[in-house]
Amino acid sequence: MGDAAVVAEAAPEHDPHATYTGLDNVKLAMWAFLGSECLFFGALISTYLLYKNKTEAGPKPHEIYDIPYTSVSSFVLLMSSLTMVLALAAIQRGDHARSRTWLMGTALLGCTFIGGQIYEFTTFVEEGLTLSTSPFGSAFFLLTGFHGAHVTIGILMLLSLVGLSLSGRLPQRDASKVEMVGLYWHFVDIVWIVIFTVVYLIP
């Protein structure tokens, strides 16, 4: 028997869903990506902690932070995690209409958060804190700006899912697509939990 025949005999029957680990490779890659994102945001949070007292002539952190306002933003983002997980639960049981509703709800809550962040940034600039005012300003805008960029990317992914669902290209068997976007979205929420405490609440 030739080598090719031996290989063909030993080769497993082709299963497009079979993986070496027995796990969904896309999901594994997403978790690896989220693990690496911890280091990315860890770097930005550390930079903020190092420079938060370097305010130069600009405003100090607790002169400009509006805690009640940011608390509402945090609540909005936290609730968007609930709508996201409800969207996943809906598509997993084949309820596409409800899944779209929850996905749209999540995107809307995300837009509310981003709108709030734009308003906050505008207020800070009016009060004299810009990216170049002080090391504190640079670190603050870099950290919260990158988080906002992540939320914006999440909103675009959510709207893409809604578009796919409306065009009938998001069947129940593709619920893992919603799950992947959901993992990303919850991660963004988790990062904000840390930012809200470390940046805004801890003096």
Partner: protein
């Protein structure tokens, strides 16, 4: 027919890859969200109570950790999914905490010389 799963070492009695699919119900998700909202409200409340100032940092950090873990376990399904996923994420978190603790300690030892 070849049993291809037998060729994958991860299936040799290793339950690290065993994927559970018994996720919480919608009612449980809502309960978790309510707990998260209450903890957030408590964080803000603690921030405004002057008598808690000496304990502010540990209390706030503890509440943030509770929220972090709840979202990761229940909303991201780490409690129910394969332990392999949990390891990937926990590795990232631990690595991040370790590396940046060293960075912050280094700068605190160097004092203002490090950050200009």
């Amino acid at each position: 027919m070849t049993d291809h799963t037998a060729n994958t070492p991860a299936h040799d009695g290793d339950d690290d890859v065993h994927e559970e699919h018994t996720h919480p119900s919608e009612g449980q998700y809502i309960k978790i969200a309510v707990i998260l909202a209450v903890v957030t409200a408590a964080e803000v409340l603690v921030y405004y109570i002057p008598s808690l100032r000496p304990l502010l940092v540990p209390v706030l950090l503890a509440m943030a950790v509770v929220k972090f873990i709840m979202v990761a376990l229940y909303f991201m399904h780490l409690k129910y999914d394969s332990r392999m996923f949990r390891r990937f994420f926990v590795l990232g978190v631990i690595l991040s905490l370790a590396v940046f603790s060293v960075v912050l300690l280094t700068f605190s030892v160097l004092g203002s010389a490090g950050t200009g």
